[in-house]
């Protein structure tokens, strides 16, 4: 068992255009999250290339990869992953903190993003004092703090009720359509997948069938850099 190599991803060739909204669907263990994490620079592929504007993420060192996650990617998690001891404002300020933004500028920017997700009146609240939908909006605000180009949302509506789920998807779609944010959403929900420009269905680490609009380029996951926000 220990020697068995499990391929989370196997020969996945996918190209994602800047500003695209891609939904990744598939059963548990099909490699959805692994794909998203590799695109987001959280994980590294054992082989192959992940090209962002022609630069291979696999060739970056920890600092460069961290900077990439920090500046160009925003993550939204199913479990929100907010810091329970921090206020909404402090949670949103976290990526700014790692970007070396000073305390005052951090606060200003965090306030701005929180207002943008309609939480202007909840800035001093801790996650425990917020509803599920509000928490997810805080985590979206956190993902947006450094004005990234790519937003990766792993089951963003998995922990909220259906009404709030629609609100969150609405917010994400707005960011995609109005600000040109490249949106990668992992979901089980067909309704959400149906809103995407393209759906990547995964099974056993492979993309099952190309969707009608997909253009595939061998060994490449690519986004085009475009300033958003």
């Amino acid at each position: 068992m220990g020697d068995e190599i499990i391929r989370a991803l196997d020969s996945v060739d996918v190209r994602i255009a800047a500003g695209e909204f891609v939904a990744i669907v598939g059963p548990s263990g099909s490699g959805k999250s692994t794909l998203a994490n590799i695109v987001g620079g959280l994980d590294r592929p054992d082989s192959g290339e992940v090209l962002i504007e022609g630069r291979d993420l696999a060739s970056l060192n920890d600092r460069e990869l961290s900077a990439y996650r920090n500046r160009r990617v925003g993550f939204v998690f199913q479990a929100f992953n907010l810091h329970p001891g921090y206020t909404a404002l402090e949670n949103v300020g976290l990526p700014l903190l790692f970007a070396g933004v000073g305390a005052r500028a951090r606060k200003r920017r965090a306030e701005e993003v929180l207002r943008a997700v309609d939480l202007g009146d909840r800035m001093g609240h801790r996650p425990g004092q917020l509803s599920g939908g509000q928490r997810q909006r805080v985590s979206i605000a956190r993902a947006l703090a450094n004005d990234p180009e790519i937003l990766i949302a792993d089951e963003p509506t998995g922990n909220v009720d259906s009404r709030k789920s629609a609100e969150i998807m609405h917010l994400l779609r707005d960011l995609n359509q109005q600000q040109g944010l490249t949106l990668i959403v992992i979901t089980h929900d067909a309704a959400i997948a149906s809103q995407a420009d393209r759906v990547l269905a995964m099974r056993d680490g492979q993309i099952e069938e190309p969707e009608e609009t997909g253009e595939f380029v061998a060994d490449v996951v690519r986004t085009q850099r475009k300033r958003v926000g």
Binding site: S66, A67, R69, N70, H83, P95, F98
Partner: protein
Amino acid sequence: MRFPDYFAVALKNLWRRKLRSSLTISAVVIGAMSVIVMLSLVLGAKRVFVQQLNSMNALSLVTVSGDPNAEGGDLFSGGQSADESAKRMDEAALKDLAGIDHVKALTPTVSVWVRSLGMAGSDKKMWPNLLAYEPGAGVLSLPLAAGRALRPGDMNKVVLGNRAIRAFGYGDRPESAIGKRVMLYADGWAYYNDWTGNPPEPLPNAGDEYWDTIGKIQRPIMAEVVGVAASGMSDGNNFISMGWARKLMVQRSWKFDDAKAKLIEAERRQAKQGTPNVPDVQPMRIERTDGIAEKGYASIMLKVDDTANVKSVVAAIERKGYGATSAQEMLDQLSKLFLILGLIAGAIGGISLLVACIGIVNTMVMAMYERTREIGVMRACGATRAVVRRLFTLEAGLIGVFGGMIALGVAFLMAQGGNALVNRFATAQSVPISDVIAFPAWLVAGVLGLTAFVGTSAGVFPARRAARLNPVEALRYE
């Protein structure tokens, strides 16, 4: 990430777990306290010693004995030796030593032997050291608890030492002993000397009773207490002037006089031939035995013009074949001893600091498990491994520094209280010491540095583990 933000985040993390942080910090406090207490005890002991030497101006004193090999003598006894190679400590030796460069003043010292010392109004008797020196020579300047120092012409005047004054019950009020009379009890024949006078002349047909009576009875030599020495290096010594000692050391006794006996014999023969009333005279005369002239001084004490020259003077003395003891030498040796003691004490204190260090490691490893998910989020938000590592290390280091700071604060208050107590006690006991518990700046800096180091190094291992966590797995961690 900006430098001040590291502190803000680390402090916030510590604050979040108040109980655990304070428990871990208190372990460091205990560890640091034991290091501080151990070190300041050793430092304090050294300080007491140096203060006492200074208070007697002892650091510029050298005690010369006749025997170059006599070891272990303290400042007041040159270590008298029966060695035949020993040089005689006499007037010639005094002149010889006075010729050495940098010798400012010198005095011979002798120990006067008496059976016991008593005090008027006290039943207590004790066996005393009576040390005589030349008060006018300007060598010894004893710190006094009460009264005055000896003066050159002082006869039957004594400066009592701390042990005697306590034995007689004046320990806490030495000034009341001034003017009181003390009795130096001497055995039989030893009582009679140039100060007390001749023993009673034996009667013509004096039998054994006469000799027994004189030999067995202890008689007191009276003296007045003029001063009380402060407690210090030589609590067992009582001091008298050399002038008086010279008289006390010349023993007087009756000896059979051959010449006189012959004379009497001749007179007796003449008497038989006619003259009837020849007075019944004993053929005895008084013999004076000068102990100092016979055996020399116990030692010669000299004062060097500057403490810096003590070493060269000691060397010069030893070249001349004498033995020399200086407080400086003692201080040098004691400094080494104190250094070793300090290291041992510090190591003993360090053990509890080591235990505290393990406590920090434990706390930080627990924190790592607890915050695994948080670490994952931090990494997803762009924290590098180095940032995670630095945050954990800093947090551990802060535990150490806080522990050190609190320990120093507590130790400082304790030292204030302790010194106040010791000072009061010392004043009451007329011990010339103050502020025994030392708290030098290097100790403060050293303790802070040490606890910071201990904390930081305790953080290294957990911080590395935290930094190496796979962010994806960390985010999935329940």
